[in-house]
Each structure stands twice: as C-alpha cells, then as structure tokens.
Symmetry: C2
Subunit: 228 residues, 2 copies
C-alpha cells in the first residue's frame, strides 16, 4: 500500500506538470496546447496528455473545444471575482461544518500546520508557506467531513494560486492571524463564528487581490496582507 501506490500514473504526473506550468504562468492564458507538442515535451504519448487535459478542463484551467484542441483558459478580472464569491460560499460552509465536527485530533492537525507555517515564515520559504496554506484549507474541508465539498474544493486551491500568480508576480507576505482565529473558532465549536471568520478571510483575500491589481479599492477593509 505504501510502495505500491507510489507508482504514479503518467496521466497524474502530466496533469500536475501542466497544472504547475499553467499556474506558474509559463503557459500563458490563450496558449494553444497541442497534444503532439506536449507529449514530445514531456516524453510521453498523446494518451496521458489527453486525459490530463480533460482533468484540467474539469478544473477550469484549460478550455477544450471539440475538434479544435485545448487552450489555456483566460482569467479575466471578472472571473477572479467569481472565484472569490464561490470561495466565500464554500469555505464558509467548510468552516461551519468543521466547527461542528472537529475533535481533538483534528484541532491538533490544524495546529501542527500552523506551526509548520510559522517555521516556513522564519525560514523565508515562500513555497513551503504556500503549501501550508493550501494544506490548512484542505484540512478544514477534510475535517468538515463533507466528501462532496472536498471534491469541489480540491481543484479550487490551484485556481486561487493561479489568480494570485497572474495578478501579483511577487507574492505578498501572508498574515496567519486569520488562520489562527479560524482555528480557535473551529476548536471552540462555534459554527457561527467559524463561518464569519472564514468569510472575513476570503474577503481579506479579495481585498488583497483588488489592491494588487489596483482595480478597485475597498473601503473598510484593512486586511491586505494575505495571498490566498
């Protein structure tokens, strides 16, 4: 079960690599993704590439037009806003459910991620920090115990990174106080509070995004130091 599962499937590897390329911006929006080229570039056949592209399409990273190929999806400012709206709906639900169901071990896991994040902050390791952030939010969803929510949210994390990477080439420093507050709300089992903290967290992320893109200023929001 340990070594056996380690045999990664090519489609997974291709999918992860393409997702990374898209998120990092190496594959710009609008870029045509020709199966032959990708297969040659990655040293595999077209089949795993096709399957990976389909997965990425279901996650919204690429758009597949029948018989015309795949292109990297465009992320308009409007779509970024769309993402924040959906995040607010789903993450607030996740926080509420997590607060309802969290036990001691779950809280411990959350706390350990915060500790790891603190160490990453001290070390100045921004990639590790981003990973911690993703892990924390995914953990909240896991704790919520809602499998369907997990199915929907899992691909969303990458999309969030993508939006921020596109709009903010240099990553902003991250405030983890909101995460701590969310942890406390979940640990305390206060559903209402957890939901409101999650909403505030996403709102802060949106404000940060808006400030970075300089499109609109958001009066009344003082949180501008998150990157998720």
């Amino acid at each position: 079960m340990t070594i056996g599962t380690a045999h990664q499937l090519l489609r997974s590897l291709v999918c992860e690599e393409l997702r990374r390329l898209v998120i990092s911006g190496e594959l710009a929006p609008g870029t045509r993704l020709v199966e032959d080229r990708l297969a040659a570039r990655l040293g595999v056949s077209r089949n795993p590439v096709r399957e990976a592209l389909q997965t990425l399409a279901s996650e919204g990273f690429v758009e597949i037009l029948p018989r015309r190929g795949a292109v990297v999806a465009e992320i308009t400012a409007e779509q970024a806003e769309d993402l924040f709206d959906v995040r607010m709906a789903l993450e607030s639900l996740a926080a509420r459910l997590a607060a309802r169901r969290a036990d001691a071990t779950a809280v411990g896991r959350l706390r350990s991620v915060l500790v790891k994040a603190g160490q990453a902050t001290d070390a100045g390791d921004f990639d590790a920090l981003a990973a911690c952030n993703t892990e924390f939010h995914q953990l909240v969803v896991d704790i919520s115990g809602n499998d369907y929510l997990s199915l929907l949210v899992a691909p969303m994390a990458g999309r969030v990174q993508w939006v921020f990477r596109l709009s903010a080439p240099t990553r902003a420093p991250h405030s983890w106080t909101e995460h701590e507050e969310l942890l406390h709300a979940i640990a305390g089992g206060d559903e209402e509070y957890a939901e409101s903290v999650a909403r505030a967290h996403v709102a802060a992320a949106r404000a940060s995004y808006r400030q970075l893109t300089g499109e609109r200023s958001v009066p009344g929001s003082l949180h501008a130091d998150t990157d998720d």
Copy 2:
C-alpha cells in the same frame, strides 16, 4: 456552427450514456466498470470509454482506483446530506447573484421555463418536468453570470437526480410554487430574499429526501413535495 457542432464526440456520447445508466440505477453503486465490457457494450474502443470515466469521476459518479479500475460510486445517506449542504451554499449564492444581475430577458427566460413546466405538469410528463427543473436551476446559475459557479453546479444536477432516484424509486410530485417565489425574488432584484428562498427550497428538498428515506423527520419544515 449548427451542424458542425452536432458532430458529437464519442466520449461525450459515452459519458452521457454512462451517466444515464448510473443515475437511472441500471448500474448500481459498487458495480465494477471494466473498460473492455463497456467498450464492447457501446460499440466503441476503450479510449472514449476511459475519457468518459475520467469525466464521471470528476463529477463524483464513479471512483477510479489507480490500476484497479472504476466502480460506480456509493451514495450513502451521509453523502446525500453532504450534497444538500453544498447545494444550499451554491444555490443560495446563485440566487443572490441572479437577483443582483437579472434583466428583463433573463426574467423572461425563467418565466418561460415555468410555463413549460406547467404544461408538462398538465401532460403528466414527469421526465419533461425533471428536465424543466434542471433547466430552471441551471438558468439561475447562468443569470448569476458566475462562470466558475456554473462549472461547479452543472454536474451537480445529475447528482441530485441520482440521489433522489436511489432513495425514491417513484418520483414525488413537484411543487413549483417555490420556483415561482424564487423567480419573483430574482425579478425584484431582492438579493436577501432570493437567497433565503433558495435556501428554503433546498431545505424543502432535503426534508423531502429525509421523508422519502424515512431516516429522520424534520420538525418545522412543511415543504415535503419537491423532488430536487
């Protein structure tokens, strides 16, 4: 553009057929989906089948275990509850946004679906009625203008049908008064009201589900005559 797009891809056809088989219950949860058999049964090669299975996996209808094949996903009572929680979060968001952005033509479209549903009701055509229901909710999402929300919600409709089909072999009669109320809220541009109507609608659907499965009764809910 009309006839050209009509050239359906095999993977789409396979996907729709498999989805239909799963939702209708002809493929029971836990059934192993062997690629060869499906390909032979549908008269295609394994390739479109594989791609269709991946899509269905991302929609949560099947579960793919690496190197061990695909099986029809199990729907536990808990997962059905999960679905209702997610629906409440996403459909309330859709309703709120639709109320914010709806214009006269959008309202007209919604109204025409209600008219169609009324005709289907008179004709006793339950399949058409179910289609109207799906169309109505998808239309609300479209009107919301949130592309990402649309991406997430589109596959959810089938899942809703699946849950009800599994738990309630005979379809319950449908109350369209809630839809009318939602239409009025959206037409009036009242975001708060639209959101609360949507929440109530999903809550009613949940109550209906619980009553059909006979698991728990929900005091305080008088709506028990919807099937979505």
